[in-house]
Symmetry: C2
Subunit: 311 residues, 2 copies
């Protein structure tokens, strides 16, 4: 039986400038990147909000790929717009403009038909809303969650309450450090595990990501790309690959969590190869499978017989 | 038959301050860290220089571990001293003082008995001296080399000449970027391969290291340490593990280059667990073997049957 995979997050129009070009009002947002990645592995249900000015048809492709868009509400007003500019090496970005529009009053109502979702990803929104979503889901099998420094500082107590109710926290290293107050990512991960989640996933940009459980650590490197066009959405695409693999297999065993990390890193690598979600328009399951195989080769080594006795 | 492994580099007295404590005039230098790591795997021959003030006996332990110290020349004058202070997160360091002493006039003379060295590591010294060392070695099987930004800017032409004559360049990501003028480490590695070496090893600090050959890439993560005391010498210890494994096995096959990367990363992780070379006083082959096994577990995942056909 197919279990359901639900994502709640932003649907946005991103204007992005990188050293390699720019895009104006291209499709973006956490729920959008997540869905593009996850739907390569498993059907996705999306809850989000768009304004009445949202360009018709741009979400259609997702619908054709097995994404249920019926939970995206259209409200009178402007859609969420974000504008950013990346540094020459893509390692830093400045936000030039953020216009929340209808996203400012986003108060996700989970449609009845989505309330039995088994796998749930709470994209980076106000932790109060993330809690409210959780309250609307009947009996999720696994809840994963993202957040950002804005909430870590502004709504710390709510976030800590949320942590007690989720299974997986996916954050980047800077967020893990801010949250825990510890600059060492492994200690930061342990801090997180002591507050609720059984799994912490710390994303480290081009370097890869680490999966920390109470007694296990797994590391997946970033895919070696010579050309990166637009880092926007890499983290949410990672989450989409991670959750898509878990939902597809309905398997949260340690072995499958590791596979999910690799699917996540693969999807993150696809996301950055073009602007916006463009790369996902070009690929299917075959490309994903091939990239996962490349990850296996990237880290493969065999241990030879032990070093002989030494003088 | 044992092949010989030669290192030429600095022997220093390091004064280091980190958030976790400090050491005054502790054993340091590229040849010293390299030897501590490599000698756990294979006998090492060292060429270096110390001043007449070098504390007696501190190198003795290396001698007991199969390191031939007879190529370390004692010259009248002061030993090389370096003093540095690390940032709270150990990611940055300021050099407070550098006193070259006898190292300023270091002009390595390779003793006759070392001239048939098969595996050679040229630690970070003036590339003219590195070339001079190469001219004194009869017929090396594999030459690896380190450098730093000071030489990349100051002696670029000499360094490029050197590149044409070595097999492996081991540098950190910042050095690879400076050298190639490209911020992307994979493009930077390719730039290096086009200039002589058949192997580029790009070290990325806590994130690990990448091995780039013309048609293959291998990634080894940094060992997940919750407590790092002193990052000094991690890169040279990495080089020691890498070269020690190659010399021990006399095997430069792709499979063994990968193993050598893992031995390198293991040795780098030991180096930073204590101040100076202190951690190497505590470990033997068993600890190294165990850590290499942990690396295998750290990146291990198996690919399951392919994702089913999607709607």
């Amino acid at each position: 039986m197919n279990v359901s995979l639900l994502v709640v997050g932003s649907v946005a129009l991103d204007s992005v400038e990188t050293p390699f070009g720019s895009r104006e009002e291209a499709l973006g947002g956490s729920a959008v990147y997540f869905s593009h990645a996850a739907c390569l592995l498993h059907p996705v249900q999306v809850v989000g909000v768009i304004g009445s000015d949202f360009p018709a048809g741009v979400l259609q492709r997702l619908g054709k790929r097995g994404v249920d868009l019926s939970g995206i509400e259209e409200k009178p007003g402007k859609s969420f717009r974000w504008k950013g500019k990346y540094s020459y090496d893509l390692q830093n970005r400045d936000t030039i403009d953020t216009r929340l529009g209808v996203f400012a009053d986003f108060n996700p109502k989970i449609p009845d038909r989505f309330r039995d979702a088994a796998y749930v990803f709470l994209g980076n929104i106000d932790p109060e809303l993330q809690l409210s979503v959780l309250g609307q889901i009947k009996q999720p099998e696994l809840v994963a969650c993202d957040t950002m420094n804005y909430w870590i500082h502004g709504k710390r107590d709510v976030l800590l309450e949320l942590l007690r109710r989720i299974d997986v926290l996916l954050v980047n290293d800077a967020e893990a450090r801010e949250l825990s107050g510890d600059w060492n990512v492994y200690r930061a991960a342990r801090w997180i595990l002591e507050r609720g989640p059984s799994v912490a996933v710390i994303k480290q940009g081009v370097y890869g990501a680490v999966l920390v459980e109470r007694d296990r650590i797994f590391y997946v490197p970033g895919y070696p790309l010579e050309d990166v066009f637009d880092p926007t959405g890499a983290g949410d695409s990672f989450a989409g690959g991670f959750m898509g693999q878990l939902a597809r297999t309905r398997d949260t065993s340690p072995a499958n969590l590791r596979r999910a990390m690799v699917y996540g890193s693969a999807m993150g690598s696809f996301a950055v190869e073009r602007f916006s979600t463009e790369r996902f328009d070009e690929i299917g399951v075959a490309e994903v499978t091939e990239r996962v195989r490349e990850f296996a080769e990237l880290v493969r080594f065999d241990i030879e017989p032990e070093p002989g006795s030494r003088p």
